[in-house]
Symmetry: C2
Subunit: 343 residues, 2 copies
């Protein structure tokens, strides 16, 4: 988690954390994580944890869309040179955004790295199929992902020591029949759960349809994760379709840029306020009235606004605490709705 | 406090915090601090607090030595234009490093700002005499500081509501007879305590002599503060001469740049290690063996090294916690030495 300690994350009530294999693979490297006793021990997080496979970041680099999360981090990322060099049956060849070294991430390499990192839940290695490709590419990409997922599963079983579980990934882009085929593939193989990945379309409506289609064809009662989704409306829609867990940089990235999540019903439909706005200069109310997070219990909008203006790192820390608390609270309300059969 | 929350500062056992009037005067402004109910309430710090007078930063700008603490913060600070425009009997005219606006900080303006900020202890406004000036300038500067301190005292008494106390400041540079005169001046007037300010010489030996000389001529049992001093050896020397409290950006600034304070006796005489050094890449020991701070109880040198390499803001946060904890612990040991008459 950027900007806050794991103690602060635990204090807001978070129950699981997703970490990026791609970033950890490049820096500090999976071996160093292992030397530190695994990621739980290294970062001081004693609760459940999952890692993605590393594929998303590699492929988002390759398709010319440099992932936001590495923006501004290293000069290498600013050159706009394609960092994804080649995709073959073996795996994906890419250049490190840190030092330019060439790496190959294969299903086996991803699982080996995730084994060393040591999260409780790990993900099979797949190609994250982009949005602007045709049905033919999407189908061929999905087939390769299925072969990669089987290799991931075999490598997982070869290395397993009983401390981890593996999820398969449902690909198929925006095509209902491909999603059905992929959901059936994952369901028929020995994965602990499944994640829905790849392109979910260009509109919220399309996203809802694709997630519904994938969930409909899952043939088991394993847990289902929706990758990279974190807006409130999309989470509600996913939950209605049967998704159990979500991950997204949105709440914490928004926080570091001054966006504080608020209840849309009390804020003219807006999901967040931008605390950088000068209208908060004299506003001595908390970020969100009634919020019980550390930030809202102790500090005013005026103070947080000042911290952002003064470029104090504490600014991002306080809003990250607020946004993480907000999302945990939101998911608790969602759980109540499920328990009361209101969703 | 940069990089950490006031809750984290309280957790390490800190009992008092110094805040800079100069920075708060320019941003967000003393009025906004007052609107927030004063600085204690604004930043969530319910323990004692003192503010300096704003003079140090203004005069360190004026003498061509741009204070480190504003380095890298705003483009204005990088122009190397002199920000101190004029010193007159009225006060100091200077340009804001934020927007270039011209301000005059006088004794009355400083006290008014400190009244609004609302610290428990505030400081009289003085000229922070630099090192490389002659005896004649130092004497005239001291005389003006004494006049400014009397104006500060009158303004303080005019505005007093019983919630604050004011310290006088002992100037006189490196000249023993001037230090004596200034100590007597402060002692004879109605200050709650005194701070030793200005140049303390060019060597640690000279600093010791000047502090000893100032302390020797204090004619009362009021508390004595030594401004801007924070290295362990200098603190020990100050305590031996009768100083009660110290302030310094050193431990927290060092932390943000990767310097972790350690016991010199266990580290070949070094007061800190630089965690950026590649020799810590695989070092899974805590920063300081046996240290009970949050960082050392939970994280390895290898992990903190990685956080600095990855430019994660958490890096500065963790080392700031360690260094603040280290200094609190150090001062507790100093108090034990005093209690046992070993110092």
């Amino acid at each position: 988690m950027k900007a806050i300690t794991t103690a602060q994350l635990e204090a807001v009530g978070a129950e699981i954390m997703l970490s990026n294999t791609y970033h950890l693979y490049l820096q500090p490297g999976a071996d160093i994580v292992a030397e530190n006793g695994g990621l739980h021990k290294m970062i001081g997080w004693n609760k459940p944890m999952l890692t993605d496979s590393g594929g998303f970041q590699i492929f988002s680099l390759g398709h010319g869309c440099v992932a936001d999360e590495i923006k501004g981090r290293r000069s290498f990322a600013h050159t706009n040179r394609k960092l994804l060099l080649k995709i073959s049956e073996e795996g994906a060849y890419f250049k490190s955004y840190i030092d330019g070294h060439v790496h190959c991430l294969s299903p086996e390499a991803s699982i080996q790295a995730q084994r060393k990192i040591g999260a409780d839940i790990i993900l099979a290695f797949d190609e994250c199929t982009p949005f602007h490709v045709d049905r033919d590419y999407t189908a061929r990409s999905m087939d390769r992902s299925h072969r990669w997922e089987m290799r991931s599963l075999r490598e997982f079983e070869r290395l397993a020591n009983g401390t981890q579980a593996i999820y398969g990934i449902i690909q198929g882009g925006i095509y209902g029949d491909l999603r059905r085929e992929s959901a059936q593939f994952v369901s028929e193989n020995n994965f602990f759960g499944q994640a829905i990945g790849g392109s979910l379309g260009g509109t919220k409506e399309q996203m809802g349809e694709i997630v519904a289609c994938a969930c409909e064809h899952i043939k088991n009662v394993r847990p289902t994760h929706l990758l990279g989704i974190g807006h409130m409306g999309d989470i509600l829609s996913g939950v209605k379709n049967g998704v159990d867990t979500f991950d997204c940089v949105h709440p914490t990235r928004l926080a570091r840029h001054g966006g504080a999540l608020v209840d849309p019903e009390k804020n003219d439909g807006r999901e967040f306020i931008n605390i950088n706005n000068s209208r908060f200069t004299h506003d001595t109310q908390p970020i969100s009235d009634g919020c019980m997070c550390y930030c809202c219990r102790n500090f005013s909008r005026s103070y947080v606004h000042y911290l952002f203006k003064a470029k104090e790192s504490l600014s991002g820390q306080l809003l990250t605490i607020h946004n993480a608390h907000f999302m945990v609270n939101f998911m608790e309300r969602v759980c109540s709705l499920i328990a009361n059969s209101e969703i």
